[in-house]
Chain length 461, copies 2
């Protein structure tokens, strides 16, 4: 047996039969590469790190176009092979980590922009969001929403595994009507179908971790491409940063993309921003349209001190400020202290500041707060990814319960199923019903939509 | 004495001395023209109609540029002549109706656009808002906010006498930070100064009815010029139109400029829209960006029936739908019934629908409701200009009291002073203090800021 053969799954296995059926679709079988591609940033969670350690696909398939995706879907259904779609692998709860082996469907070759119109874009699912915005540069448009991992995340991965991010202070989240235009998917039926899910129907694949179809194309709304200015303002007290952030968030006449108060000592972890983050000070990070900067300066005048102001720079080697926000904050903290972890909160919009104050007072140094002002269902509020000095799973459960008792919604990032991480502890009925239609055997990212019970797969029916 | 001389104010009067001092500034003295220019749409109010009937300037002066404005200000201060600045005369509470004669300063010759930048415009105060947007057409920008009288209203008049309007559902009102960039004014001092009021400071002239300086230039923020679609949706019940409007207003992913539920029988007065407004149905009028139309249709599907959809057309002879909204609704009603009048309401954002329902039930046919969804201080709510079947001043006062008891703020449009029409029944302290600085003798639109007491004017000090 030669080395290459050794690395391939055993002949006669479902995987081999599956690979035989997908023609010349490029594949990867080197175990180290397959294992690496099967991971995401679940290691931010000590709990998931233990649970997902070692989970891996058996093979990576890399479709070049929709015809390849259909071939992969047909072969998977024929041979009962689980498929886990994967974008940039920037998720945080193992969204794209296969629990039961099978094939990882890596969309990194499907990156074409199909068309743009004023305010709209159609693009293949594997395009990186940074690359999309770069391609749009001359058009005067840009993606409305992106995660802090914009430069490596794909648009398909964002829609399948994300919820909002930079831009949510203006447009709300991916769940809000109009923030996903349409999705085109391939089903996992004996005879795979191609379905176009338009407008509201596209919610069937939003944050479903790829369990409800293989997304091949997306239509996404665009926003005007302002010249964005990255700003840091420093405050003696965190709560003053929160109040200023809220005033800014509520100022509908100020065009903005990011409003992020960050409590000291978190900025201590921002080595490259040291000159702008004095010791002991909390900060407010913001992205403001250049034409709104004068109003912005007036609004923050007398509240905090602006220590940094420069056009957002996403070019190679530069670090835009949004890479210190959302879950990038956790990454910066982890560089210095591998024992920390984080939570995902949504504060109540009608008693935001009081609730933040209460949580800060309750947890002291055990939980370090930074907020992301966002619009949620039309209201200005804040989501948050607070840094937790991790002690034990039990203590983490206690902390979550304390937030929930204070009226803060927690989307638990220490679980890998849709249901456990969701507000209602159940899969959206639409998504559950839709999955029965498009993935009757439960071959898509199995185990992630835990309430779904598929038909038993059999070689023939 | 010839005819022309007869029409001029008596020699030796302050006015004649004033006119002698302003050089070649164009003037109008024909009494009919002066009287006509001294009016606005105060006749929507039977109360103001009685109070302001016959009020007129003695002369109209028409500055061509800022140097003329300074000459007018200097001459007015020297001779103790009252000045009332005037834009398009589209106000509704006599904002630009002189109470004590003097000179009307008509800005209709000062219409230059001084510059535009991405998201910003600098323009002379007398430019009509319709003309500004027309000039901006190729730039891809447009004014963020405009009244329903956009085609005849001037930008200076809007900022001095208005509060918001079409666009407020996205950007809030003129009071919100960032919605007025800057104002340049000429003061009414012995030696007039030119002052640039930037950012927050520009609020000193917002909705001050021209009492705090002669506005010569404005810097206004611009928004992206979407291709707007005018839409009418019909409903069996008004409250369903309100609920759908609210859902749309809260949908941050849907780009919109106007969201206006209008109760039957108001649409009966919209003769030209008859084909789209079936008998007995309430309607929702909206302006939606073309790229958001698919989401919009999904959102209203099953709630109401779309009867009209066409690109907003502001060309000559066409009537864009916003000319049925805000206070244009009153105008359409007045065409058929001169006995009606109206109110100005702001509903509470946190119990909007219930309060509207209560007011509809309370007043029945005596008050006909139409709402304008808006953002106010960062919250989605509705202002409203309900049509009132007018009975008496006493009944109008009762109606106002009933709204206020229900938590609805009323800006009374049947009074002509700043204070009586304002939420706090007093002039903003900043504006009052600023007026003492820039108009020490109280020569600017006297009687409108009633709490201001100027220094007595004397020929020399």
């Amino acid at each position: 047996m030669n080395a290459a053969a050794e690395e391939r799954p055993g002949a006669g296995s479902r995987i081999v039969d599956f690979l035989d059926d997908i023609g010349d679709v490029p594949i990867i079988t080197e175990p180290q590469v397959v294992r690496r591609r099967s991971r995401d940033f679940f290691w931010y969670s000590p709990i998931l790190n233990a649970q997902l350690h070692g989970k891996s696909a058996e093979v990576v398939v890399t479709p070049r176009h929709e015809t390849d995706v259909v071939a992969i879907a047909r072969a998977a259904t024929r041979h009962g092979v689980a498929l886990t779609p994967r974008g940039g692998g920037t998720g945080n709860y193992g969204q794209a980590v296969p629990l039961n082996g099978g094939a990882l469907v890596d969309f990194s070759l499907m990156t074409h922009i199909l068309w743009t119109k004023p305010g709209l874009l159609r693009v293949q699912a594997g395009a990186k969001m940074g690359a999309i915005d770069e391609a749009l540069q001359i058009s005067g448009w840009e993606l409305r929403l992106h995660p802090s991992t914009k430069r490596t995340a794909t648009i398909g991965g964002f829609v399948a595994g994300g919820s909002g991010g930079v831009g949510s202070i203006t447009y709300g989240g991916l769940r809000d009507p109009g923030n996903i235009g349409a999705a085109r998917i391939v089903t996992l039926e004996r005879e795979p179908r191609i379905i176009e899910l338009r407008a509201d129907a596209a919610q069937k694949i939003n944050r479903a971790f790829g369990t409800t179809g293989l997304i091949t194309e997306l239509e996404m709304p665009l926003g005007p491409r302002w010249r964005w200015i990255d700003v840091i303002i420093v405050f003696d007290e965190f709560i003053a940063a929160v109040e200023t952030g809220r005033a800014l968030a509520l100022a509908d006449g100020v065009i903005k993309k990011l409003v992020t108060p960050i409590a000291w000592p978190i900025p201590q972890a921002f080595a490259d921003l040291k000159d702008h983050c004095p010791d002991g000070k909390s900060i407010l990070v913001a992205m403001i349209a250049e034409s709104s900067m004068e109003t912005f300066r007036t609004l923050v005048h007398g509240r905090g001190v602006v220590t940094y102001e420069a056009a957002t720079d996403e070019s190679a080697g530069k670090v835009p400020l949004y890479e210190y926000c959302w879950n990038h904050t956790t990454l910066h903290m982890l560089k210095g202290d591998r024992s920390i972890t984080y939570l995902q909160c949504l504060f109540p919009h009608d008693r935001l500041v009081a609730t933040v104050e209460k949580m800060v007072a309750t947890f002291g140094d055990e939980v370090l707060h930074h907020l992301e002002f966002s619009r949620y269902a039309g209201h200005v509020t804040a989501s948050a990814l607070p840094i937790v000095r991790y002690k034990s799973p039990e203590r983490l459960t206690e902390i979550i319960a304390t937030y929930e008792a204070a009226g803060v919604f927690i989307a638990n990032p220490h679980v890998y199923t849709l249901e456990d991480g969701s507000r209602y502890r159940r899969a959206d009925a639409d998504q559950l019903g839709f999955k029965a239609e498009v993935d009757p055997y439960g071959l898509l990212n199995p185990g992630k939509m835990k309430s779904f019970v598929g038909r038993p797969w059999a070689a023939a029916e």
